[in-house]
């Protein structure tokens, strides 16, 4: 598959008093054309920082991009000027955020917020932009779009606002959409609708989507591929099937085991992952998950493992994949 975005060895740090929080520590991944990739991880795993770095929306200071490349359509976004980035944001890469309440400007009519990008990036007249904007609102499932076009954000419910956000993000037909926890602030019934809208839009426009979330259920329903992040590192990647049906990294397995499933009748006790993630002001030398891992071996505490490729799509970064580990365990 042709790739549209490639993140190479990305390192991002934040300076805080008393040191530097190494939030992203060597992240690599690619996103193919028309593909939905989910980045899963807990708070502090670096997933949102990664997304914001791609968009160059991360405030600096306190953050600092230490090294790495973000290749989008063959060009490194990290070497662009702010002016160049402005032309890319909204036009080639769209973004939707977690909180639809705060990501829309409350003092500007919804219609104006949709057309703004169209006028800026595509040099449309207001009339043309309005036609496109109304059409977008209809596409994301807002009834009575002509009338709603002239309303303010507070006249929309939370789910409707998130639809508007999607309409704004996709108005210029960007080739990549970054959705940062797009359903976290919404109720489950609304969440289901928003996911449907996103899938529908992707089919229509062929947009690639990077979906940042902590909700594995949402991932299972949407993603083609999954990137699991922990403590600033990618610990496992694979297709949805590989990650959910054949997880290899103990962290991924732990996450799946700690979730109760609504469709299971048997009430087995949950298996939690003990402990808490490491403080990235002082990341551990070895595997960051070693302190919480029930398979931890001596080597894990000393050396951070390299990625092991189990198939073309499946990668796990764990010492258990080392041939010697399997020998020792089975003996």
């Amino acid at each position: 598959m042709e790739s549209i975005l490639e993140v190479k060895d990305l390192h991002v740090s934040f300076s805080v008093r008393g040191g530097e929080v190494k939030a992203v520590r060597g992240v690599n991944f690619t996103v193919g054309k028309g593909e939905t990739v989910a980045i899963v991880g807990e708070s502090g795993s670096g997933k949102s920082v990664t997304a914001q770095t791609i968009m160059r929306l991360i405030p600096s200071p306190p953050s600092k991009i230490k090294q790495g490349q973000v290749i989008f359509n063959g060009e490194d976004l990290l070497s662009k000027t702010n002016k160049q980035m402005e032309a890319i944001r909204g036009k080639d890469i769209g973004m939707i955020f977690q909180d639809p309440m705060t990501s829309l400007n409350p003092t500007i009519k919804v219609g104006k917020q949709i057309t703004e990008g169209l006028i800026k990036h595509q040099n449309l007249s207001f009339a043309e932009a309005k036609t496109r904007g109304v059409e977008m609102l209809k596409l994301v499932g807002i009834k009575n779009a002509e009338a709603r076009f002239n309303q303010y954000p507070h006249e929309f419910s939370g789910g409707m606002r998130q639809r508007v956000m999607i309409a704004i993000a996709l108005a210029c037909r960007p080739s990549l959409l970054i959705a940062d926890e797009p359903t976290t602030a919404l109720d489950v019934t609304i969440q289901a609708q928003i996911i449907n809208v996103m899938k529908d839009m992707q089919e229509r426009f062929g947009t690639s989507i990077i979906m940042i979330t902590h909700d594995l259920g949402v991932v299972a329903g949407m993603a083609d591929r999954v990137i699991v992040m922990y403590a600033g590192e990618v610990v496992e990647t694979g297709t949805s099937m590989e990650i959910f049906k054949n997880p290899q990294h103990p962290y991924t397995r732990g996450l799946l085991r700690s979730l109760p499933r609504i469709d299971q009748r048997k009430d087995e006790p949950l298996v939690p992952i003990i402990g808490t993630p490491p403080d990235l002001i002082k990341p551990p030398v070895g595997c960051p998950f070693a302190a919480r891992c029930d398979h931890a071996m001596k080597v894990c505490e000393r050396i951070d493992p390299d990625p092991t490729h189990l198939s073309d799509t499946h990668m796990s970064r764990c010492w258990l994949q080392h041939p010697m580990a399997q020998e020792v365990q089975s003996s």
């Binding site: 805080v16 008093r17 008393g18 003990i274 402990g275 808490t276 490491p278 403080d279 002001i281 002082k282 030398v285 070895g286 302190a291 919480r292 891992c293 029930d294 398979h295 931890a296 071996m297 001596k298 080597v299 505490e301 000393r302 050396i303 951070d304 493992p305 390299d306 010492w319 080392h322 010697m324 580990a325 020998e327 020792v328 365990q329």
Partner: protein, 317 residues
Amino acid sequence: MSVKNELIPQASAANLTPEDFRQIGVDEKQSEVIQRESLSAWRDSWERLRSNKLAMAGLIVMALVVIMAFIGPMISKFDYQTNDLMNTNKPPNSVHWFGTDDLGRDMFVRTWMGARISLVVGLAAALIDVMIGVIYGGIMGYFGGRVDEIMNKFAEILYSIPYLLVTILLLVVFEPSLGTIILALTITGWINMSWIVRGEIMQLKNREYVLASRSMGAGSGRLLFRHLLPNAMGPIIVTLTLSVPNAIFSEAFLSYLGLGVQEPVASLGSMISSSLSGWMLYPWRMLFPALLISLTMLAFNIFGDGLRDALDPKLKK
């Protein structure tokens, strides 16, 4: 099995042995240990304040002014009220460091005496504002509803009367003295503070930790004094710091109008006022008090601003 390993922590280059792959147990308590050093909310704020150079400069200037206001008059051999008609309007020299005024009084001593009066008025007025404002605003915010409505109306009415009018009236009716000035400044000065406290308390009382304390059976006293006021302390301190220069300026202004402290007692405002008649000829008589009052106000304002940043409770990281 005791294999010695001296490997560099580089996964690909590592020379691994089966021993490395022996499972170890997880130590649950180990992963719960907190890495960072312990900091209380107050210490955290102090550290932040200390790293703010401008605010610290403000603090140092404030401290110097306060110290000089109290020891300044003592290190000079002159006093503030003895006339010396042989030495009137002398420019600064080695005897009279800041020169003398039209009655030959030493300007150095008078300037610091004036600063002392200004500081006393400013601090006293601000402290009284805090006391009334915290109690009044605390009651409004905590009880809310009808109590709040009535008390707030009263405060609004009082606030709508021009304070200069009240002040001048007061100073005309009563003898102008330090006490009267402080009274005049506080009669409406506390209102602002009470509104700030009211807003804070209203916001804080819906916090879950207050609810938690209520769910355990805590009474009003505990809620107010253990939970609400300590957490409202940041804005209170900032407002206090910023209201000191206001009071100092108001006092100077009143003295300038001749409504402040009376001769021979000096205040920065009255000194500037009396220097006006000859300021082209004797600029030092205006320069020193004016400089000092500006410096003091600037220092308090800068420090107050720094304090606001430092106390902003973003403790979530």
